[in-house]
Symmetry: C2
Amino acid sequence: MITLINTRRSVRRWTADGVSDPDIRDILEAAMNAPSAGNEQAWQFVVLRGTTVNDYVAINRNCPPGAPVGILVCGDLLAQKYDGYHLYDCCAAIQNILLAAHAKGLGAVWTAVFPTSVDAIHQLLGLPDYIVPVGFVPIGVPAGAPPAYVSRYDEAKVHDGKW
Amino acid sequence: MITLINTRRSVRRWTADGVSDPDIRDILEAAMNAPSAGNEQAWQFVVLRGTTVNDYVAINRNCPPGAPVGILVCGDLLAQKYDGYHLYDCCAAIQNILLAAHAKGLGAVWTAVFPTSVDAIHQLLGLPDYIVPVGFVPIGVPAGAPPAYVSRYDEAKVHDGKW
């Protein structure tokens, strides 16, 4: 498993193949088995497919177009127990999504939601006021070979016992 | 791998056994292979062992005592390219730490850093001003059997195409 963690890379180009509903369900299950603050599970997931993915990309253009599926991970302020911690919950869930996709041979990338896009995303998807889009993950079959594995381990960032 | 993601649980009690240096290094490597905003890798890691772990717990008491090792994951404001995104980077790294520990049969738990503890943590560990403690992960050999696996998958949190 650690090799799979280390070899995950951001994938931004996909083939025309789809992602099956069972695969999407497995990926969402991994997301919801992430830890959360006080087990608050302050997350919600909107699954976009086909042209809807590109409708999202037209609003939040840091996301590469062309994925057959995308998952918008949102914080749920009504479920949140601790101020601001929906963000931590959603980040843990997103990391599980990336790893679960990679484990299935799919490719994905974590894309940020621009603050300037939030209102338009709310309108596009009919999100309630208490829902905060945190990140969007397009997923598909990778087009082309992944980049060669180079670990990002950096000894200089490890401090033993104190700074 | 998805089974390992799903079966990870928070572990808060540990045996007296230590965690080997190679295991700690592998866990840190997994952490640093997390994605980050624009690949900024705005993270730093302080590894605490033995009594130093309890010195930390004495300051930030939501962390259970008694782990042989703990990793304080910190944001690095000098490395950060996008305002606030050190938090996302660190959350992704922490989730990888939890999963890598679980893959090794170790037990860990993500504990929050209280805002009221930050100054004291800076003093204890000699952290520079540009370093922001984000989360602390105590790690050790689990004491007792893990809780039975119950998936947290919740169909009600999945929205198809729109809310």
